[in-house]
């Protein structure tokens, strides 16, 4: 299994797409962190709260999701799935190798984006003289939850890619779900509350946020982590099943 994972990591880091995507994820997150930390006005109870800025690193979740999708769909797009499966004929093991490699990439991306973003916020705010004396453990739990959310999103990406092998279809589908469908479903009463609380998007945001003052339809970190892990597992199981059942025709 180790050699499959190292082969998958090697495949990822020998294409420019990977660097472009990881680089833009970090670039965007860090740029917005710096801009927000310098420009946001914090004034009393009606203004922004400094801890709101801690969530910026969580945007890396989307990029991790796309990286996970790419780990599978790029092979189908370019037909390299054929030589890959000739080297590793067990489709389940190959998919699990991609899953493992993507979790590792997600971990690195999560540590970099959430970690650096948090350090920047703390550093820049204290340089501005803003009170960053957050409740104890809040920062640490936000960072850990945020990193875990990025990791799980990378894993979900692999499952989605194994189910929808078409690269464009998988990426567009995933983004439309997160940015359009979850929002539209939010309009429907009851269903909307349920989706914003338990949907993949809601669970991801909740996992990266440990602040005490949360919205009414936001889970605590622990249940949010479990729900997101359940999504990850569900997509993986369905994806592995589809990989096994369908012919490899790319």
């Amino acid at each position: 299994m180790n050699r499959i994972i190292s082969s998958e990591l090697f495949k990822l880091r020998t294409t420019r797409t990977f660097y472009a995507l990881a680089g833009s994820a970090l670039g965007i997150v860090l740029l917005i962190t710096v801009a927000a930390a310098l420009a946001t006005k914090f004034r009393g109870s009606d203004g922004n709260r400094p801890e709101d800025l801690l969530g910026i690193g969580n945007f890396a979740q989307i990029f991790a999701l796309i990286l996970g999708i790419l780990a599978v769909t790029t092979e189908f797009r370019h037909g390299t799935i054929t030589p890959s499966l000739l080297a590793v004929p067990d489709r389940v093991r190959l998919t699990l190798g991609k899953f493992g490699a993507s979790l590792l990439v997600g971990l690195a991306l999560g540590i970099l984006s959430v970690g650096i973003s948090t350090l920047l916020v703390l550093g820049l705010l204290s340089a501005r003289g803003v009170d960053t004396d957050f409740p104890s453990g809040e920062v640490l739990y936000s960072v850990l939850g945020g990193i875990l959310a990025v990791v799980l999103y990378a894993g979900i990406g692999v499952g989605v890619g194994a189910i929808v092998r078409n690269q464009v279809g998988a990426i567009v589908g995933a983004l439309v779900w997160l940015f359009v469908v979850e929002g539209l479903l939010g309009i429907i009463p009851t269903v909307g509350d349920w989706i914003s609380e338990y949907g993949p998007g809601g669970a991801g945001s909740a996992l990266g946020d440990s602040s005490a003052d949360r919205g009414s339809h936001t889970m605590d970190q622990l249940p949010a982590g479990l729900v997101l892990a359940a999504y990850c597992l569900l997509f993986l199981v369905v994806g592995v099943h589809m990989m096994r059942r369908r012919d490899i025709t790319a």
Binding site: R3, I4, S6, S7, F10, K11, T14, T15, R16, T17, T74, H78, G79, T80, I81, T82, P83, S84, L85, L86, A87, V88, P89, D90, G97, R245, D247, I248, T249, A250
Partner: protein, 301 residues
């Protein structure tokens, strides 16, 4: 001894279409087997099932005695190139092969070795997207050779190769076969592989039409012996008196059911002057068409 490759009563159905229909054939070590059929005859489908990429509807396939998916060392057992080899256009040839070496647990130096073997060392560090069709075929072959396998499965390996490339491929495969490798080469052009292969499996509409040594297949295409010379009319009389089937005229005879030697003996015994005695071969291509046409017309649609 188990066959290097054995396909037994293989059937594959895509919805309404029966792409492979009760197909059986074998390939053995030290031989090159040509897997022939027109486009759409089911060649690639068969090879994809053989290599565990597609699931069979019925029947079995085995490589070195086992289904491909159950091989302990797949790359060390079988090397295969399908669809001319597939690559990520942004990845270098060397990195493509290295990724596969990593997955198979082979040393990274092996990647350089196989690229050297196929003559691709110079282009190894360039992105595969810029490779010519011939270079892609070579890169695919390099990947297939990674594990130093004793069985090779190549789907249309001559596609896109220039005459020099085909010559190179032919010599390369001959060399591997002489070292005891079993090689299956698919093609829709008989002429392309006629000089390379020892045996031919011909399929049409997913069914096996013939499996035979190439010589035997060529013999089926023999159109008789042609004899020419000033005295052939006399020869004709002698041969016909012996019951042979002779056609033609004074400019030349065609004898359908006598060997060259038999005719030669008649000529010598009767001191007949001839200017030509030759075997007439129907082109292999004609034999191929005859075989595949039969298959096509046998199955009413």
């Amino acid at each position: 001894m188990t066959h290097a490759i054995e396909v037994s009563h293989l059937t594959k159905r895509f919805g309404e279409v029966l792409a492979v229909d009760d197909l059986s054939f074998t390939a053995d070590y030290g031989k090159i087997v040509g897997f022939l059929g027109q486009n759409g005859a089911g060649k690639t489908t068969t090879l994809r099932i053989l290599l565990g990429l597609s699931n069979a509807t019925g029947g079995t396939t085995s490589v070195a005695g086992k289904p491909y998916a159950r091989l302990e060392d797949p790359l060390g057992t079988v090397g295969a190139v399908l669809d001319g080899g597939k690559f990520h256009p942004g990845r270098t040839g060397l990195n493509h092969v290295r990724a596969l070496a990593l997955a198979a647990g082979l040393p990274q130096t092996r990647a350089d070795e196989v690229l050297e073997m196929v003559g691709l060392s110079e282009a190894a560090r360039r992105r595969a997207g810029g490779y010519s069709l011939g270079m892609r075929q070579r890169l695919g072959l390099a990947a297939a050779l990674l594990g130093d396998p004793k069985i090779l499965v190549l789907d249309e390996p001559a596609n896109g190769l220039d005459p020099q490339g085909i010559r190179w491929l032919r010599d390369f495969l001959r060399h591997l076969a002489s070292q005891g490798c079993a090689i299956v080469v698919s093609s829709h052009l008989l002429s392309e592989i006629a000089q390379t292969v020892d045996e031919v499996v011909v399929i049409g509409k997913g069914r096996s039409i013939a499996q035979a040594p190439i010589n035997e297949l060529m013999a089926r295409g023999q159109g008789g012996i042609r004899v020419a010379g000033p005295d052939v009319v006399r020869l004709r009389g002698l041969l016909e008196a012996d019951g042979a089937a002779v056609s033609g005229d004074a400019s030349g005879l065609v004898v359908a059911d006598r060997t060259g030697e038999q005719i030669g003996r008649v000529i010598a015994a009767n001191a007949i002057v001839i200017s030509e005695l030759a075997q007439i071969s129907q082109s292999l291509e004609d034999v191929f068409f005859e075989l595949t046409d039969t298959a096509t017309t046998e199955v009413p649609s």
